[in-house]
């Protein structure tokens, strides 16, 4: 954390938290669950600070004037419009190493994990 701004930032975050419904830490716990990451108590607080800071920064996008309706197809499309790219339906077996060998645990050519209860 930037030492100069630390106390000031922390105060702003606390204020923001008390105003919103679910706290940032709660939202963060949900995000961690969805992302399959375990966070310790300490980490939860630390990440809440850094995530909070970034989200505040993202909030500056609110100042961007709403544009004319952007068609959904345009969102996320980085490739300029051009010919469609399609792959012919022809088999090409992978001839490299036996990929299953890379799994940490396996049995009879199947990847194994503890049982789903």
């Amino acid at each position: 954390m930037d030492k100069r701004d630390h106390s000031c930032e922390a105060k702003k975050l606390r204020e923001a938290r008390s105003q919103s419904g679910a706290s940032l830490e709660e939202e963060l716990s949900i995000a961690a669950e969805l992302a399959y990451l375990d966070l310790s108590e300490l980490e939860r607080r630390a990440f809440a600070e850094s995530v909070g800071r970034m989200l505040e920064f993202f909030a500056t996008m609110d100042g961007f004037p709403a544009q004319r309706e952007v068609p959904y197809e345009g969102r996320g499309e980085a490739v300029p419009r051009g010919a469609n790219r399609l792959r012919p339906d022809r088999r090409v077996p992978f001839l490299g190493a036996d990929l299953i060998e890379a799994a940490a645990q396996r049995e009879e050519h199947l990847v194994s994990i503890p049982n789903i209860l």
């Binding site: 970034m54 996008m61 709403a66 544009q67 980085a78 990847v111």
Partner: protein, 474 residues
């Protein structure tokens, strides 16, 4: 074959010269730690490429060694992405961009260090190694392609590949005093690049000469059936309609420290002296480019990194009661803090209830910026920008923290958001540290970048770090 590359050709198989080379490389490694894997005795070449990849008759790079950032697949080496979770992962295939170079005779001599999963601007986020700036090892190389930049700057390889998501080729190139090219989005296949932000990133080239950068780029670029976002053929991309005549400067750019500011002004004068007309550009939307960039990048990263669980490959946690537990532990143990932060952020901005405000908004901004820049690049041939607000900063607490580093990405991430090509050009030294300037061109107009860089080259000979030598090539 380029004259500059000729001395390198056959170096690795030359029993008389290789010991001198290995000693030189080892000496540098002790100071800068550019490589995570270095194998001059066993490089990965065309014979390691799959059947069907035949040696190009021209052999532009025959026997020439090069380095590859360790988030790009090269069969025969591990691909660690600078992370514990892939520390021992042997990749069973080779990235298309690398295969194309191998097909022309080039040999991968090693894999270079990077910020973990390419997330960072210092290279200090690597979980597996520490790289330092060849000009002053107290300082960072820059990131995330820090190892590649350092290896090239030290003269250990004539060129290296990196990946550039928000500046990760250009910024370290600039910190280390070498050229760094970020090609147009889609110009070079992404197949084989461990994905961080799919719609923003691509492979890039670092070298100490424009000619080498261009030659490598031309060899790699072109449509790849394995990457359906890659664009059609290289030759037709590089239109040539005379040298660039004008360069745009963005109004209201600020936040540079004294040395960076001085170097930037100096470079602008040099551009003018080289015959270019400077034009002021008003691009108000650029105020929004950085939050949009990080929103999109972290969103895509959160999905792209979901595959790392230790189930089918990679590091698996030692004990777990059930698969969910196994996955959580493997990821928690295997990822560093910066990676976790970006995954959490990305998950956040995609969550229903938040997606409109963050992710969709960012895409709107992106589209608008792309249009605004395309418009500007119809009025000028190039846009000049700083690379980074500072020169190479020190490791540790006295340097820049993670948040500050992110805020500093604003000059470079514009090209990624808009899918445009950009080149970091070295502009000498300031108090012993490399300075640089960034040029950006319209999509698929890399030719303009090269032309301008060539006209600047006489004014700015590429610097050499202390102890730099190419004696071993003789």
């Amino acid at each position: 074959m380029l004259d500059e590359l000729r001395p390198w050709s056959g170096l690795l198989s030359d029993r008389k010269r290789r010991p001198g080379y290995e000693a030189y490389a080892a000496d540098w490694e002790g100071r800068i730690g550019a490589f995570l894997q270095f194998a001059p005795e066993r490089p990965a070449g065309a014979d390691a490429a799959p059947a069907g990849a035949s040696l190009d008759a021209r052999g532009d790079f025959l026997g020439v060694p090069f380095a590859v950032k360790d988030n790009i697949a090269v069969e025969g080496f591990r691909m660690t992405c600078g992370s514990r979770i892939l520390e021992n992962f042997r990749v069973p295939y080779t990235a298309t961009c690398v295969r194309r170079l191998q097909g022309r005779g080039a040999l991968v001599v090693g894999k270079t260090n990077l910020d973990e999963f390419a997330m960072g601007s210092s290279c200090d986020n690597s979980a597996l190694g520490r790289s330092s700036n060849p000009y002053d090892p107290v300082r960072v190389t820059g990131g995330s392609s820090g190892g590649s930049a350092a290896a090239v700057a030290a003269g250990v390889v004539p060129f290296a590949l990196g990946t550039d998501t928000g500046g990760s080729v250009r910024q370290p190139a600039s910190f280390c005093g070498v050229y760094g090219l970020k090609p147009s989005y889609g110009a070079v296949s992404r197949f084989g690049l461990a994905a961080y932000a799919s719609s923003l990133e691509g492979a890039g080239v670092l070298a100490r000469s424009v000619d080498i950068v261009e030659a490598v780029f031309r060899s790699m670029c072109g449509e790849d059936p394995l990457d359906q976002t890659s664009a059609a053929s290289g030759r037709s991309l590089l239109a040539e309609d005379g040298p660039p005549r004008s360069v745009g400067l963005i109004k209201g750019l600020g936040g540079l420290d004294a040395e960076a500011e001085a170097a930037y002004r100096d470079a602008l004068r040099a551009l003018e002296d080289s015959g270019l007309r400077l034009v002021e550009l008003d691009l108000p939307l650029l105020d929004y480019v950085l939050p949009a960039y990080y929103t999109i990048a972290t969103a895509e990263a959160s999905a792209n990194l979901a595959r790392y669980t230790g189930i089918a490959y990679g590091r698996r946690a030692a004990e777990a009661e059930n698969p969910a537990d196994l996955v959580r532990r493997s990821r928690t143990e295997g990822f560093g803090d910066e990676v976790k932060l970006r995954i959490l952020l990305g998950t956040f901005v995609l969550r229903s209830g938040f997606q409109d405000r963050y992710y969709l908004k960012a895409q709107e901004i992106r589209r608008a910026i792309r249009d605004e820049l395309a418009e500007a690049l119809r009025r000028v041939d190039l846009i000049a920008l700083p690379v980074f607000p500072t020169l190479a900063f020190p490791h540790g607490d006295t340097g820049m923290d993670q948040f500050q580093q992110k805020m500093a990405d604003k000059f470079t991430c514009t090209a990624n958001v808009a899918g445009l090509p950009a080149l970091a050009v070295p502009t000498g030294l300031s108090k012993g540290l490399p300075t640089g300037i960034q040029l950006m061109a319209a999509a698929f107009r890399e030719d303009r970048l090269f032309a301008c860089a060539r006209s600047l080259a006489p004014l700015y000979p590429v610097p050499e770090p202390p102890s730099f030598s190419q004696e071993f090539l003789k």
